[in-house]
């Protein structure tokens, strides 16, 4: 049971006219084989940026400035463009946020699958590609005759499932799910996540699950990492974080999501708004919104505190 993904000291900046904005600040984490890690946080905290870094998909002006990303033993930051092309989708693939926009609108599904197989040298025959694609579609529950349709002819849920099928086509070791259910209604959400979970157990791939929906994440993932303003503030097994959060932010997030069962409680939420990355204060980044902030929080950044299965950064943990 080795590590499928090791991220060490990753820094990602956005280059602007007036200087750099640091979107990901010294992030490190590990995903073991067959396990799932959830990455949670508010919008703009850097989770999607990390996801894009894993496949080096950044568009300008985003730039990976330092760090190591080791996937299945290879540091992908050292790969050339050619090697990168062969590597993408084979070892690691991604399900994007809105399936609506992530498929080429003028090409049929069948052709899109064929293209995938052709590029990665699986097969050059159209018929074979069609067969393989049909099998994949069967797994996610889409009738095979839909292959000749264009993306816009599928319903939202079906599109998302098609994208998932495509992501699993080359049997990757790591599947990244970037807010896979935001654009769907709750019933379809559950359906799809259930499917992914089953597939994960069957095919034994790891998952990086990015979302701002904590409750969803708790159910699906083994480990959860909470991000704020470009840093991971706490990481622990999901059950442990749920019952026993250490960082005030984790606590706040947990309490911001009502559960479908149980009694009706007063919702707390977290005061303030996400940090503006253009002016990062001295000390802990969460200082303005933290109900446990003390003098030291405004002066010194907290050091790492290790737990037996995780870590956190806080001067005054719960």
């Amino acid at each position: 049971m080795g590590a499928v993904l090791e991220v060490e000291n990753l820094y990602v900046d956005y280059i602007t006219e007036n200087g750099h904005i640091r979107a990901v600040d010294n992030v490190s984490f590990v995903i073991e084989e067959g396990k799932s890690l959830g990455l949670a946080g508010e919008s703009g905290c850097g989770k999607s940026t990390i996801a894009y870094s894993l496949m080096r998909l950044h568009r300008p002006p985003a730039l990976i400035t330092s760090g190591k990303i080791i996937i299945d033993g290879k540091d992908i930051l050292s790969l050339s463009e050619n090697e990168l092309q062969k590597f993408r989708w084979k070892k690691i693939s991604m399900v994007f946020q809105s399936a609506m926009n992530c498929l080429n609108p003028v090409v049929t599904l069948e052709k899109q699958f064929f293209e995938l197989y052709k590029i990665h040298g699986i097969t050059k025959s159209r018929k074979e590609a069609k067969k393989l694609a049909e099998e994949l579609l069967k797994i996610v529950g889409i009738p095979p005759e839909r292959l000749k349709d264009y993306p816009h002819q599928l319903s939202g849920g079906m599109r998302q499932r098609a994208v998932i099928a495509m992501a699993l086509a080359l049997k990757p070791k790591l599947l990244i799910l970037d807010e896979p259910t935001t654009a769907l209604d709750t019933v379809v959400q559950r359906d799809i996540l259930q499917k992914i979970y089953e597939l994960k157990e069957k095919l034994n791939f790891s998952v990086l699950f990015i979302t701002h929906d904590i409750s969803l994440m708790m159910e699906f993932c083994d480990t959860v990492a909470i991000m704020y303003a470009g840093k991971i503030v706490e990481q622990a097994p999901s059950m442990k974080i749920l019952k026993n959060p250490h960082h005030p932010y984790s606590y706040g997030l947990k309490n911001s999501f009502p559960s479908l069962q149980g009694e009706v409680k007063y919702m707390e939420g977290i005061p303030g708004s996400p940090l503006d990355l253009k002016c990062i204060p001295k000390g802990c980044r969460f200082q303005d919104r933290c109900f446990k902030a003390t003098k030291i929080c405004f002066e010194k950044e907290p050091e790492i505190s290790l737990l037996d299965e995780g870590f956190f950064f806080c001067h005054n943990p719960l």
């Binding site: 602007t16 006219e17 007036n18 002006p61 730039l63 540091d75 930051l77």
Partner: protein, 318 residues
């Protein structure tokens, strides 16, 4: 690390942008020379120099003389005034008309919009320059001002479409809705709320129309519908052509108006680009992109060096 952010003002922008500087210089040169014509030439535009017909450029006549014995340089300078004025006149009319039509269609929507759009579409399908010629011909040989009027009246459809689209997108924004709720009259809203937001588009549209107007004006005069007695750039070209200047190798008669038209047109185009960049931050990306690529190259080099060191350290163990 993260750099500080400074306020960028318009003046800084101008200094940074070679396009704007070049454009403004070109325009200024032309404007100064034409408006201050008296300072740059001792002669009058209609002054005839006996015996000096079609004389090549010399010390007394920098650009030589025309077939009728008039000084080309002087005619170019004085003619410029008229040409530019007519251009501005035509441009203003066109912009005014297109604003009125476009904003009305965009703001009121519904049937009004449908009717106006259909009319615009129909007019746009009829070749405007041909129409221009026919109208010009039916009115007979006309003064530059009349030409300007006709150009203004026939070139509004292009702009109308753009202003309509912009109005429609602005209309649904919140501050308009709040103004309406407060009871501001529709017309007042139009002028006080919507128009100021379109300022950059209006300016850029005006310059674009100006360029077109000058082009159309020289076109009509060149074909021969201008007032033969007037002195404008287009008319000079017409005189040159109809008296066979080209075939006799009398290049200077054409050079004067041509050079100025090119200078002025280019200057306006450059400034137009700058206005676009100023108002649309996405376009300012040009400079950021250059910065970005530089940094990217440096980073990739660094990361590759880092990877090489690591593999050599580990002695080839993955």
């Amino acid at each position: 690390m993260v750099k500080k952010f400074s306020n960028s003002k318009i003046i800084n922008f101008i200094k940074d942008s070679p396009k704007t500087v070049a454009g403004l210089i070109l325009i200024s040169i032309v404007l100064v020379l034409t408006l201050g014509a008296k300072l740059f030439t001792p002669y009058e535009p209609m002054q005839t120099f006996d015996g000096l017909w079609r004389a090549a450029p010399s010390a007394e006549h920098i650009l030589g003389t025309t077939q009728a014995g008039k000084d080309v340089w002087t005619q170019t300078l004085y003619g410029g005034r008229v040409s530019i004025l007519v251009g501005i006149f035509a441009g203003s009319i066109a912009v005014l008309l297109s604003l009125i039509v476009g904003i009305t269609a965009g703001y009121f929507g519904g049937i009004v919009d449908n009717i106006i759009t259909t009319i615009i579409n129909i007019i746009m399908v009829i070749p405007q320059t041909v129409l221009l010629l026919i109208i010009a011909s039916m009115v007979g040989r006309i003064s530059p001002l009349a030409i300007g009027l006709i150009i203004g009246v026939t070139s509004w459809p292009w702009g109308a479409r753009i202003y309509r689209a912009q109005t429609m997108s602005l209309r649904n924004r919140e501050f308009i809705k709040s103004a309406e709720t407060l009871g501001e009259s529709k017309i007042r809203t139009l002028f006080v709320e919507i128009m100021p937001n379109m300022l950059s588009m209006i300016t850029s549209g005006f310059i674009g129309t100006l360029i077109y107007a000058i082009m159309a004006q020289s076109f009509i005069e060149f074909i021969g519908f201008g007032d033969r007695m007037s002195v404008t750039w287009g008319q000079m070209l017409n005189n040159a052509q109809s008296t066979g200047a080209l075939s006799s190798g009398v290049w200077w008669e054409i050079l004067g108006p041509s050079a100025f038209l090119i200078l002025f047109g280019s200057g306006l185009t450059l400034v137009n680009f700058s206005i676009d960049e100023l108002s649309n931050p996405k376009l300012r990306a040009q400079r950021i992109m250059r910065k970005y690529y530089k940094e990217k190259k440096a980073q990739e080099k660094l990361l590759r060096k880092q990877a090489a060191v690591t593999t050599s350290n580990k002695g080839g163990i993955n």
